[in-house]
């Protein structure tokens, strides 16, 4: 480790290990909101990941569905089949509880993948533009400016439209998910790039970086080993908040018909389908997925909020 002691307070919190020793955990254990949010996120993520084992049925397996179970109210026996479902069934006779678990899986998968994609892209472009400067920087930041003003849903719709044309028909169903990730990720990398670039510009002129360069370290090694850790805490905050935004963005796109398909529904697709039953009295088809999405996004947002405050000592 060639790290010099870091003078900047937020940079000092760069390492995960240091965070543990710092006020971070003290803060956490003294913030009920943060703890509750954390627990909620953990429960939801856990149940999404282990959905195949938790869910009573597999809603993706068409052979297991009985259409006559359709529109069964929560915890009430179906008039035809006599079967009972805790959260009721939707129009296809699918168990709402199971579709929520599986839907959350897709929402989280899309959200997390999109944010990871945006993060990696943003970090790379941020490092490169900050470290090398010059025309590389001009081009990247120019694109970033345009990207920032061009609204994310339009970007996503454009990408979706183009990708649809290039994908062979037989892969279109699976494609939808990957295109969503690409679309949401591409509309989200700018914030990461800007933060990382800012940190890179500050750090690259420091003595230790110059020293590393002198002993012949490769630019990539310097960027990743030395500069990047200093930018990680804001990146973490942005990633958390972006996750909530990405999950909501996916839901919004599904309303415009460019989201996950109903055969592979995300929470957003479930809500879009469920809103058609709002007036007809089958409230559970909309209500439970909407509550789950709300709980998920709210908990992630609150966690991100707390993280921002906790990692930003200036607000203490």
């Amino acid at each position: 480790m060639t790290d010099t002691p870091l003078s900047q307070p937020e940079a000092a919190k760069g390492r995960w290990a240091r965070l543990k020793e710092s006020d971070f955990f003290f803060d956490f254990t003294h913030s009920p909101v943060a703890m509750v949010s954390f627990v909620v996120v953990c429960i939801l993520v856990f149940s999404a990941v282990f959905a195949p084992w938790i869910a009573p049925t597999n809603p993706f397996n068409p052979a297991s569905l009985n259409l006559m179970n359709g529109f069964t109210p929560p915890s009430t026996p179906n008039a035809f089949t006599g079967e009972t479902f805790m959260l009721g069934t939707d129009d296809q006779g699918r168990d709402v509880f199971s579709t929520i678990l599986y839907g959350m899986r897709i929402s989280l998968f899309v959200g997390v993948s999109a944010v990871l994609f945006a993060m990696v892209l943003g970090i790379i472009l941020g490092l490169v533009s900050g470290y090398f400067g010059g025309w590389t920087e001009t081009i990247i930041m120019r694109i970033a400016d345009v990207q920032l003003t061009f609204p994310s849903i339009l970007v996503a719709m454009l990408i979706f439209g183009v990708a649809k044309g290039f994908t062979p028909v037989e892969y279109r169903d699976q494609m939808a998910i990957w295109v969503l990730i690409l679309a949401i990720g591409l509309s989200d990398w700018v914030q990461f790039a800007r933060v990382v670039r800012g940190a890179t510009i500050v750090e690259k002129n420091k003595d230790y970086v110059a020293a590393a360069r002198l002993i012949g370290r490769k630019p990539w090694a310097i960027m990743i080993r030395h500069i990047l850790p200093n930018a990680m805490s804001p990146v973490l905050v942005i990633a958390t908040i972006s996750l909530a935004l990405a999950i909501i963005a996916e839901a919004t796109l599904s309303f415009l018909g460019v989201g996950a398909p109903p055969t592979q529904p995300s929470l957003g697709t479930l809500i879009r389908v469920g809103q058609g039953f709002l007036f007809s009295g089958e409230w559970w088809i909309l209500f439970f997925p909407a509550c789950t999405l709300l709980a998920l996004a709210l908990a992630v947002n609150l966690l991100g909020d707390w993280l921002r405050d906790a990692l930003n000592p200036r607000l203490r």
Partner: protein, 519 residues
């Protein structure tokens, strides 16, 4: 119990429409043009039926009745039809109606650029006998010709010439795209495409006024939930359609009524008869659907009553042929494939597909009522007999090109016969596709049967009702035996209106303003 109080609370707060005779209504699609010859689509023709009139029109029970022609009779031995025109009719701009307008409208509507051209395919010549008599000659005897031109609307020749609208212009639009001048009961006073269209009664109309509307405004509302909210809150007096799932709720409300009927449209599954192999299958090179037993197995595998019970909420009728019972030429006593998964499996085994196979099912998701849900349900039902269908649902603007390019292993199709006659689907769906003869243009799967092709021209030209029906029955039987398509149900027609509205629903889903009374 909870639901009851909920409904009661709901109905208590619904405001009654403020002014009685100012009628507002909402439909999903705005008529895309005001030109009666530019686009042959239900939203356009349905709307313009209030403004323009044809020689004949359809009554409340779909029967053909006199309009701009007071009577008509066949000429000779099936050479054509003579129409006697109504005298004293004026267009909404004050010009008088006579035979010249009919000749002009024929030329306009049958021109190459007109979408209504196919109606006049049997016509060889139109002759003005005198100012109020017109002969329409057909190249072969055509018994159903008068009823096939009920939507052919008459336009004033001078008005069209004065405004440079002698021909419809779909690409760039012209005066007639935005303005109207018909002889009908209503005239358009304000047209804002996609926003609102306002009509007022035409004082010089020749007919007897039944309605009490002083002004009517059409607003397109695409989102079904928004349209329903608008009806429930009294912002509009009438919506078409009502989402099928909301029917039961609306029926409980005292301030809103649901008007239900059977539409002319049959919802069916189509097969790739002609294809050499499946496009979206993992394991098979061959085309299982070319085997009649497989097609019959599919017919037996689909639980239509369950679809009608849940997805259609008991609001639709099952179908066993390409037209509904309300259509002319419907075949009585035809069999139907009962839901029988065991028989389906047996048929599949017999055809050599005991282990099933996989294929791709294409489906629109914004064309027919709950189309995507129906397709999803079908996927589940087929899975239960061991066939794996991969559903690809898409908006209709992507759907038709896919079907035209043969990118399907099975597809969902709805068909509404424009002529209200059983001959129509045979011409478009069952005849062997033939560019030159303009046959089978919607027969995407390329179904072909020599006997059907042989019977079609005879059906078209036979005057005797009994003889004609026998031939229609024969075709219906062939299509049934061969399971050429899987007809599933007749799409329901569901309108919603304030309880103070009296109106008439026709199976063609046309909303006729002159039958509306606001109480």
């Amino acid at each position: 119990m909870q639901r009851l109080t909920y409904a009661a609370a709901l109905s208590a707060v619904i405001a009654l429409p403020a002014t009685a005779e100012e009628f507002t209504w909402a439909e999903t699609t705005d008529p895309q043009t005001m030109d009666p010859h530019a686009v042959n689509s239900a939203p356009v023709l349905g709307f313009l039926n209030n403004v323009y009139e044809g020689l004949v029109r359809r009554g409340k029970d779909m029967s053909v009745e006199p309009a701009l022609a007071t009577s008509w009779e066949p000429i000779g031995d099936g050479e054509g039809w003579r129409f006697f025109l109504r005298e004293g009719v004026t267009f909404q701009d004050g010009a008088a109606f006579n035979a010249d307008d009919v000749i002009f409208s024929y030329q306009r509507a049958s021109d190459e650029v007109s979408d209504t051209r196919s109606w006049f395919a049997p016509v060889s010549e139109v002759i003005k006998v005198d100012d109020f008599t017109v002969d329409i000659l057909t190249s072969a005897p055509n018994p159903i010709f008068p009823s096939s031109i009920a939507n052919w609307m008459i336009m004033d020749s001078d008005w069209a010439a004065a405004n440079g609208a002698e021909l419809p212009d779909k690409e760039n639009g012209n005066y007639a795209t935005l303005n109207t001048n018909g002889t009908g009961a209503f005239q358009v006073t304000d047209r804002q495409p996609g926003l609102s269209t306002t009509l007022v009664p035409y004082n010089g109309w020749w007919g007897e006024v039944e309605h009490n509307i002083t002004s009517a405004t059409l607003t397109p509302i695409q989102n079904p939930a928004t349209a329903l909210a608008a009806l429930l809150s009294g912002d509009v007096d009438f919506i078409n359609p009502v989402p099928i799932q909301d029917v039961a709720r609306l029926q409980q409300s005292a301030d809103v009524q649901v008007i239900q009927g059977i539409e002319a449209r049959i919802i069916m599954l189509g097969f790739p008869h002609e294809a050499d192999g499946l496009k979206y299958s993992a394991e098979t090179e061959a085309n299982p659907f070319s085997d009649v037993r497989v097609r019959q197995a599919i017919s037996h595998a689909i639980n239509v009553p369950a679809i009608l019970q849940t997805i259609m909420r008991g609001n639709a009728e099952p179908a066993n042929q390409l037209v509904s019972a309300a259509m002319n030429g419907y075949t009585e006593g035809l069999g139907s494939y009962e839901f029988d998964p065991e028989k389906s499996k047996a048929l599949l085994a017999e055809a050599g597909y005991a282990d099933g196979f996989s294929f791709g099912l294409k489906c629109p998701n914004d064309r027919y009522l709950n189309d995507e849900s129906v397709c999803q349900a079908i996927t589940g039902m087929l899975a239960q007999v061991g066939i794996t269908a991969t559903l690809d649902a898409m908006p209709v603007q992507n759907y038709w090109p896919e079907l035209r390019e043969d990118n399907f292993d099975m597809y969902l199709l709805g068909w509404s016969p424009g002529t209200f006659d059983a001959e129509h689907p045979i011409r478009f769906l069952a005849a062997t596709p033939n560019e030159e003869l303009k046959l089978g243009s919607w027969n995407f799967g390329g179904y072909s049967n020599a006997r059907v092709d042989e019977l079609l021209p005879l059906i078209q030209s036979t005057i005797d009702e009994g003889e004609r029906q026998a031939m229609l029955d024969e075709v219906a039987n062939i299509l049934y035996e061969e399971a050429a398509y899987v007809p599933m149900y007749v799409q329901p027609l569901v309108w919603g209106a304030g309880s103070n509205i009296d109106l008439t629903q026709r199976p063609d889903n046309f909303f006729i303003l002159r039958w509306v009374t606001v109480n």
